[in-house]
């Protein structure tokens, strides 16, 4: 069959030619059409095109008119600002003459050399963009005119370098970094702060770099002035201006590699860095300053495994470092991880199968795990992988089925009774449902994990009692333990928390939270708590114990430094949400430990 010849149909003809009657009868609301639209179908394609063109022209003229108006606003504003600048120049000359001519010549010449972003930064330094509430400062604006990398004012140098390196957007790299540095150093308001990235760092700078900005300063609360023990050191201010150095992440490299790069920079003679006089001797920066080529590996290793840095998680995973991340020092002298991925304060857990540094977990005892004698406890079927989570490598916990007894004639314990013929391996950090009883008047309860590891020998699982060799717990050790338990400060007032753990309010104890991520001291007087902390840290020097400050409001971390229990600055909320929460609560510090946090009695 012969096909009809193809007709060359133009698009507009498809739309316009032979309009469907149903379509053209639709009522299209068009205001004051220049060309009346008829609903008949008598128009030719050419007529329809003209009608539509007329409508388009009208629309275009409206748009162009708006654009013209906008252009007028712009041009007029531009003109105004040019005139205003001239007025000011004249005023400067009139009122100040040659005395200050240099200042304004300096401003004029240098301002023109600034990039767009730096000029915007000048505006910010002058208080623009924050509703007039931010600090407005001529020196801050002048920062843009000088050699910024050499300027130390406002902590800008380190801030700038830190951000400059973390910016990946090329073109605006320098300016973006500068903008951030100025924003934070100028003390921006909440609304402005919420707009920008890097809230974590911003909060930090507001707290430490801008002490005169009282509105934004978070003052450290008072810590107990009671010094119950000569080895308990009162807190001191250790806020420092950190050196403007950083270590960038590299593919395939871990924290330890990065920390070592920091150490190298600190010791680079060209940098002329010195440890700030008020630096906390227990801070990372102090440790790195002190470390030499022989000791650095060990120091780096210890820093990397310190849970305070959050490099390792209690579940054994480590935090993933993005290639845009970097390490630098904070004003507390501690190493901080920051970067594009971690600006909001979120940490990314490494996937299960991703490689982790084979660093023993900081909570791990110094002795190898496999040497820890586990009394009549079968080896867990699941192999322990490194880094070991704290619960798996804590000192062995004698299960609740094994009450620990001391004979009436203390100090030497004789038996560890087990009512169960067979004891299953204990779950990590499973607290006994009820504390074991002290079986005689003079028999203090010694929690299982307080017993020296060697005091518990493997025992046949089929026997009910275990006779501990007398030499495994010395008289002195027991004598040290007895007084604190025999002489509570008052009749214990017991709180039963949500875990069912009974917590005496008047007797100090060390507790672990759920998952045993943190240790707390609770109960008793400040003096009793301090003594308890010292005693515990002496036995466990790598640990950190959190307690309450003198007012019982904020959380204070305690460390052992050279045999002394040393409190640090109150623990602060972390991350974006922590910071936001602190804004609304008016307090950036973490609350003092509360009984409901305790899942396990440690001491």
């Amino acid at each position: 069959m012969e096909q009809p010849p193809k007709k060359d149909i133009k698009a507009e003809e498809i739309l316009i030619n032979e309009p469907d009657e149903e379509v053209v009868n639709l009522e299209i609301p068009i205001n004051e059409p220049e060309v009346p639209i008829t609903t008949d179908n008598e128009g030719t394609p050419k007529e329809w095109r003209e009608k539509l063109r007329g409508l388009v022209d009208k629309f275009t003229s409206v748009v162009e008119g708006g654009k013209e108006k906008v252009n007028t606003v712009f041009e007029k504003s531009k003109e105004y600002l040019t005139e205003r600048r001239k007025e000011l120049d004249e005023k400067i000359i009139e009122s100040n003459g040659s005395k200050t001519e240099g200042i304004f010549r300096f401003i004029g010449e240098n301002y023109n050399k600034l990039s767009t972003r730096e000029k915007i930064g000048v505006g910010i330094a002058l208080g623009l963009g924050a509703g007039g509430l931010a600090t407005a400062s001529v020196p801050a604006a002048f920062v843009f005119f000088g050699g910024i990398a050499t300027q130390r004012v406002f902590g800008l140098a380190s801030s700038f370098l830190k951000y400059e390196k973390s910016m990946q957007d090329g073109k605006w790299k320098k300016e973006k970094a500068m903008g951030k540095a100025v924003v934070y150093s100028a003390g921006m308001t909440l609304g402005m702060m919420a707009l920008v990235e890097g809230v974590k760092e911003g909060t930090e700078w507001l707290s430490h770099h801008w002490p005169s900005n009282s509105a934004d300063v978070v003052h450290a609360p008072a810590v107990s002035s009671v010094a119950p023990h000569e080895n308990i050191v009162p807190p001191a201010s250790h806020s420092i201006e950190p050196p403007p150095i950083m270590a960038e992440a590299e593919a395939g490299k871990g924290y330890e590699f990065m920390v070592k790069r920091l150490w190298e920079q600190l010791h680079d003679p060209a940098n002329h860095f010195k440890l700030p006089a008020n630096a906390d001797p227990n801070s990372d920066i102090a440790k790195l300053f002190k470390a030499d080529a022989d000791s650095i590996d060990g120091v780096v290793h210890n820093i990397a495994r310190d849970t305070q840095h959050g490099f390792f998680n209690a579940d054994g995973t480590s935090v993933q470092i993005d290639t845009t991340d970097h390490l630098s020092f904070g004003t507390d002298g501690q190493i901080h991880l920051a970067g594009e991925a971690s600006h909001s304060g979120f940490s990314v857990h490494a996937p299960e199968n991703s490689p982790v540094t084979s660093t023993p977990h900081p909570e791990a005892p110094s002795a190898p795990v496999e040497k820890e004698p586990v009394a009549h406890v079968e080896k867990p079927a699941i192999p322990i992988k490194e880094p070991l989570p704290a619960p798996l490598v804590e000192k062995p916990i004698i299960p609740e089925e094994i009450p620990v007894s001391l004979p009436p004639e203390a100090p030497i314990p004789q038996t560890v009774e087990s009512p169960q013929p067979s004891v299953e391996p204990p779950a990590p950090f499973v607290e006994p449902q009820a504390p074991p009883e002290i079986t005689s008047n003079a028999e203090p309860f010694i929690p299982a994990d307080e017993l020296p590891a060697q005091s518990v020998e493997p025992a046949p699982s089929s026997v009910e009692t275990y006779d501990a060799p007398s030499e495994h717990l010395s008289e002195q050790q027991v004598a040290q333990e007895i007084p604190k338990i025999e002489e509570p400060s008052a009749a214990p007032e017991i709180i039963t928390n949500k875990f069912g753990l009974e917590i005496p309010k008047n007797v100090p104890h060390i507790y672990a939270d759920e998952g045993a991520k943190h240790l707390f001291v609770y109960g008793g007087s400040p003096t009793e708590r301090a003594n308890m902390i010292l005693k515990y840290l002496t036995d466990n020097p790598d640990k950190v114990v959190y307690g309450a400050d003198a007012n019982g409001e904020n959380r204070i971390p305690w460390h052992l430094v050279e045999g002394k229990a040393v409190p640090e600055a109150p623990a602060q909320t972390r991350g974006f949400f922590g910071w936001i929460g602190s804004i609304f609560s008016g307090n950036s510090f973490i609350e003092a430990p509360k009984p409901d946090e305790f899942q396990k009695l440690i001491k």
Partner: protein, 102 residues
């Protein structure tokens, strides 16, 4: 593409100046111009508080570009210099907005 943070900063300043409805490039142009005006006005307001002798000293410090020295000097000579600057900048914003309202 303008980095988000800078975009937001620009937007915040543009809002202060009442030019947020303009295209971003034009906002930036005006902000840059305004920055110079504001800086000169702010500096002038500070300088006017100084004696002639101190003005010379301030001039030398400014030309040296030593920001820390400038800050130390102003903190000592005009403890309230930040509020003075703030007022000067606020006055320039007000003038600019009044002009736009005409």
């Amino acid at each position: 593409m303008i980095p988000p943070m800078q975009d937001e900063l620009t937007a915040a300043i543009a809002t202060d100046l009442g030019i947020a409805s303009l295209p971003i490039e034009e906002q930036q142009t005006l902000i840059m111009q305004f920055g110079e005006v504001a800086l000169k006005a702010a500096t002038l307001s500070v300088v006017e508080k100084l004696s002639e002798e101190k003005r010379s000293e301030f001039a030398k410090l400014s030309e040296s570009g030593d920001v820390l020295a400038i800050k130390t000097f102003l903190d000592r000579e005009i403890p309230d210099h930040e509020n003075i600057v703030k007022a000067a900048v606020a006055e320039e914003i007000k003038r600019f907005k009044e002009f736009q309202a005409k």
